[in-house]
C-alpha cells in the first residue's frame, strides 16, 4: 500500500484509542470522590447554592449523560473553564504546550544522543569495565529524583558558581522576549538575530535541559544495551561474523538492526518523561504545561485537571502514531512497499 493509505489506516486505528482515552480521563478525574462542588462553593455555601452549582456544572445528571456531554464538548474544542484562572482551559493549555514541547524536545533529544551511543558501546564489550561502569551510572540515574537534581543544579550553578541565571522562567525578566515565530525563545531569537535574548534564553534552557537529559538517558542506556545484546546474539550477526566482515561493519549492522526497537522504546519513554518534565518545570518555574497541570492537580482545579490529563494522553497517542509511521518508513519489512 502506498503512503497516504498507510497514514489513513493508522489514524483510523487510533480513533478507538482516543475514545478510550477520553473515557478514562473522564473516569479518572471522578474516581476518588473529588467533590468539585464543595471546592467551588466554599465552606459557607448553603444547600441551595450547592445544588445550583451542581446543576451549573452538570453534575446532577447521570454519569453516562455527563460523559456524552463532556465528549461532545471535547470534540468541539470546549474543555471548560479553569476555576483558578477563569479562562478557558483550552486557551491555557494551548498557550503553554509549545513551551513544554521545547523543553521536551531538547531534553529527550540530548538524552537520546547521550544514551544510545553509551548503551551500544556497553553492549559491544559486555561485562567489561566500561559496561559495568555504565550500568551502575544508569541505575544511579534511575534513582536520582528529578526535582532534587534540579535543585542541586541550581544550587551549584546559580548560587555557588553564578554561571546560571536564577531558576525562574525561560528568559531573564530584564530581557524582552523575541518576536513569535516558532514559539521557542531560543530559536526565535536566533532567527531574528536578537543576540541578547538568545543568550538569555540559552542560559535559562541549559539547566532544565541537562536535568531532563540525565534522567531520560538512564532508561535509554539500559534498554539500548539490552536491545543491542539481543541483536548481537541473533542469527544475522553471528553469520556476519562467520563471513569475516570487519568489526566496524558488524557494529554498523548491529546499530541498524537495533534502530527500530530503540525508536519504539524512546516513544514509550516519552510518555513517562512528560511526567518527569512537569516536575522540572515546577522547579524551574518554566511556565509550561507541566507546571500548569501540577498546580491544577494540587489545587483541585477540576476542569483544568481534566483538560491537562486529556492533553497528555492525546500527546502520547500522537507520539505512538508518529513512531509507528517512522518505523514503517525505515523498515523494509513493513507493509509499506
Amino acid at each position: 500500500m502506498n503512503f497516504s493509505q498507510f497514514i489513513f489506516r493508522r489514524t483510523l486505528m487510533v480513533i478507538p484509542l482516543l475514545v478510550g482515552v477520553v473515557f478514562l480521563t473522564f473516569m479518572l478525574v471522578r474516581v476518588g470522590g473529588l467533590d468539585p462542588v464543595g471546592l467551588l462553593a466554599g465552606p459557607t455555601a448553603t444547600a441551595e447554592e450547592f445544588d445550583m452549582i451542581r446543576k451549573e456544572l452538570g453534575l446532577d445528571q447521570p454519569l453516562w449523560k455527563q460523559f456524552l456531554i463532556y465528549a461532545g464538548n471535547v470534540v468541539q474544542g470546549d474543555l471548560g473553564e479553569s476555576w483558578l484562572s477563569n479562562r478557558p482551559v483550552l486557551e491555557d493549555i494551548s498557550s503553554r504546550s509549545l513551551i513544554s514541547l521545547e523543553l521536551l524536545f531538547w531534553g529527550i533529544g540530548l538524552g537520546t544522543l547521550i544514551g544510545v551511543p553509551l548503551g551500544l558501546r556497553a553492549a559491544f564489550n559486555p561485562n567489561g569495565r566500561f559496561d559495568q561502569t555504565t550500568r551502575v551510572m544508569s541505575l544511579l540515574g534511575f534513582s536520582i529524583p528529578t526535582y532534587w537534581l534540579g535543585l542541586v543544579m541550581l544550587f551549584v550553578f546559580f548560587y555557588l558558581l553564578r554561571w546560571a541565571p536564577p531558576g525562574m522562567g525561560r528568559i531573564s525578566l530584564m530581557v524582552s522576549p523575541p518576536d513569535f515565530i516558532t514559539g521557542s525563545y531560543l530559536i526565535d531569537s536566533l532567527l531574528t538575530a536578537n543576540w541578547r535574548a538568545a543568550h538569555s534564553a540559552f542560559a535559562h534552557l541549559i539547566l532544565p535541559v541537562v536535568c531532563l537529559a540525565i534522567v531520560s538517558a538512564a532508561p535509554i542506556i539500559k534498554q539500548t544495551r539490552a536491545i543491542a545484546l539481543e541483536v548481537i546474539a541473533s542469527d544475522s550477526v553471528r553469520y556476519a561474523r562467520a563471513c569475516g566482515l570487519k568489526t566496524k561493519t558488524v557494529r554498523d549492522i548491529v546499530f541498524r538492526n537495533s534502530a527500530t526497537p530503540i525508536i519504539t522504546f524512546v516513544g514509550t519513554e516519552i510518555t513517562g518523561l512528560v511526567g518527569t518534565m512537569s516536575l522540572i518545570e515546577y522547579v524551574f518555574a518554566w511556565g509550561g504545561l507541566g507546571q500548569y497541570g501540577l498546580n491544577a492537580i494540587v489545587r483541585g482545579d477540576f476542569t483544568a485537571v481534566q483538560g491537562y490529563v486529556l492533553t497528555l494522553a492525546l500527546f502520547s497517542v500522537l507520539v505512538f502514531l508518529v513512531v509507528d509511521i517512522i518505523i514503517a518508513i525505515i523498515e523494509p519489512r513493513s507493509e509499506l512497499t
Binding site: 541473533s234 542469527d235 544475522s236 553471528r238 553469520y239 556476519a240 561474523r241 562467520a242 563471513c243 569475516g244 566482515l245 570487519k246 568489526t247 561493519t249 549492522i253 541498524r256 538492526n257 523498515e331 523494509p332 519489512r333
Partner: protein, 333 residues
C-alpha cells in the same frame, strides 16, 4: 600436505556455577581429521555430539564460556589457533566460507541481497564496485537463482528458504574459498529443495575444486553426497573413512547401531538398541566414552580404546572394532 589438518582438538566449556564451583564440560575430546581439495567430508552424529562446535572451533567463532584448551588446526600451512582474531577474520568468508542453518534469518534483514554479496566481496577481495557487482551476478547464476538482475535488489524476507540458502552459498563463493563448511545446510527446508541444494553444493565443489565439510545428523545426506565420513559421539570421532567403507561395513558398535536405527532397518528387529542418555560432559568416564551405552562393553573398555585401522583410510576407536556387513551391504553385494 592436507589443506585442513585438525589434530587433538579440545574445546571445553569452563565457568563458575551458582555454588561458586568451577565446572568444566569437555565438549570436544581430541578431535582429529584431515581434508583435501576436491574432497567432501561428512560429519555426522546425534545432537550434542560436537559437530557444529568442531566447525566453530576451526573458524574461531567460539563464544564464552567455550574455549579451545588444546590441539592444533592447520589450514593451508598456517596454524589457526595461534592467529589473532583480525587475521582469522580475514580468512573467514574468504578462504574458509560457511553456509549455515536458518538462511532467512542469517542474512542481514536491512540490506538487499545484492548489496550483501558485494559487501562480502569488498571486505575480502576489494577492487572496484563494478567488479564486485559482476561477480555477484555470476555467483547468483552459478547457484541457480533465476533472474539475477532482478533479484539483485531483493530483500532477504522476500526470499523463500531454498532461495535464501542459494544466496548463502553464493555469498560463500564470492571470494573463491578453498574450504566450504556447511553446517546443517538443508535442515528446515522442503525435502525436494534439500536435494536441489545438495546437488548444487556437490556440483560447485567439483567445479571450483574446493574442500568441503558437511555437518549433518542425516545419514542419508552423507551417504549420497559425501566421499568421506566422520562419525562423532561425545566430542570424539569414533569412526571415519570412506563412505562406502563405513556405511557398508561399520566397525564401531555405535556406528552399527546408528545405521541399524534407520527406518529401513527396523524390520530386522535388531537386539542392539540405541538407548541411554548422552554422556555427562562434566563427568566423562575414563576409557571409552560410549561405555555406558554400548552392548559390547566390558572391563577392557575402561582403558582408552586406540584408533584401530580397519582398512586403508578406515579407522574406528574401539577395542572390539570389527566390520559388520549391513543389509545395505547385502543389497549392494
Amino acid at each position: 600436505m592436507s589443506l585442513l589438518s585438525v589434530s587433538e582438538l579440545q574445546t571445553h566449556f569452563i565457568f563458575h556455577d551458582i555454588d561458586n564451583q568451577l565446572r568444566e564440560a569437555c565438549a570436544l575430546n581430541k578431535v582429529n581429521l584431515t581434508l583435501n581439495r576436491g574432497e567432501v567430508l561428512g560429519i555426522v552424529g546425534e545432537t550434542g555430539a560436537g559437530k557444529s562446535l568442531t566447525a566453530q572451533s576451526i573458524c574461531g567463532l567460539l563464544r564464552p564460556p567455550a574455549r579451545i584448551v588444546g590441539g592444533s588446526v592447520k589450514f593451508d600451512g598456517r596454524e589457526l589457533l595461534s592467529l589473532p582474531d583480525d587475521e582469522l577474520n580475514a580468512i573467514r568468508g574468504a578462504d574458509i566460507a560457511m553456509v549455515v542453518q536458518n538462511p532467512r534469518s542469517s542474512l542481514d534483514p536491512l540490506t538487499r541481497i545484492g548489496e550483501q554479496l558485494v559487501r562480502i566481496h569488498q571486505t575480502h577481495t576489494g577492487g572496484s564496485l563494478e567488479i564486485s557487482r559482476q561477480k555477484a551476478m555470476e555467483m547468483m547464476q552459478a547457484v541457480g537463482i533465476p533472474d539475477p538482475q532482478g533479484r539483485f535488489t531483493a530483500w532477504p524476507h522476500e526470499l523463500s528458504g531454498g532461495m535464501a540458502q542459494r544466496v548463502l552459498i553464493a555469498m560463500a563463493l564470492m571470494n573463491s574459498p578453498k574450504l566450504l563448511i556447511a553446517d546443517e545446510p538443508t535442515t528446515g527446508l522442503d525435502v525436494t529443495v534439500q536435494a536441489q541444494i545438495l546437488d548444487l553444493l556437490r556440483g560447485l565443489v567439483s567445479r571450483f575444486d574446493m574442500a568441503s565439510m558437511i555437518i549433518t545428523h542425516d545419514l542419508g545426506i552423507v551417504a549420497h553426497y559425501c566421499d568421506e565420513v566422520a562419525v562423532m559421539f561425545a566430542g570424539e570421532i569414533i569412526e571415519q573413512g570412506k563412505v562406502r567403507d563405513v556405511f557398508l561395513k561399520p566397525a564401531h558398535p555405535y556406528t552399527q547401531q546408528l545405521l541399524a536405527a534407520t527406518p529401513e532397518q527396523l524390520h530386522l528387529g535388531t537386539k542392539n538398541q540405541l538407548g541411554g542418555q548422552p554422556p555427562d560432559l562434566f563427568n566423562l568416564p575414563t576409557g571409552c566414552l560410549s561405555q555406558d551405552r554400548c552392548p559390547l562393553a566390558t572391563n577392557t573398555c575402561q582403558k582408552k580404546p586406540p584408533m584401530v585401522k580397519i582398512t586403508s583410510g578406515h579407522n574406528a576407536r574401539c577395542h572390539f572394532a570389527k566390520p559388520l556387513k549391513t543389509s545395505r551391504g547385502k543389497k549392494n553385494g
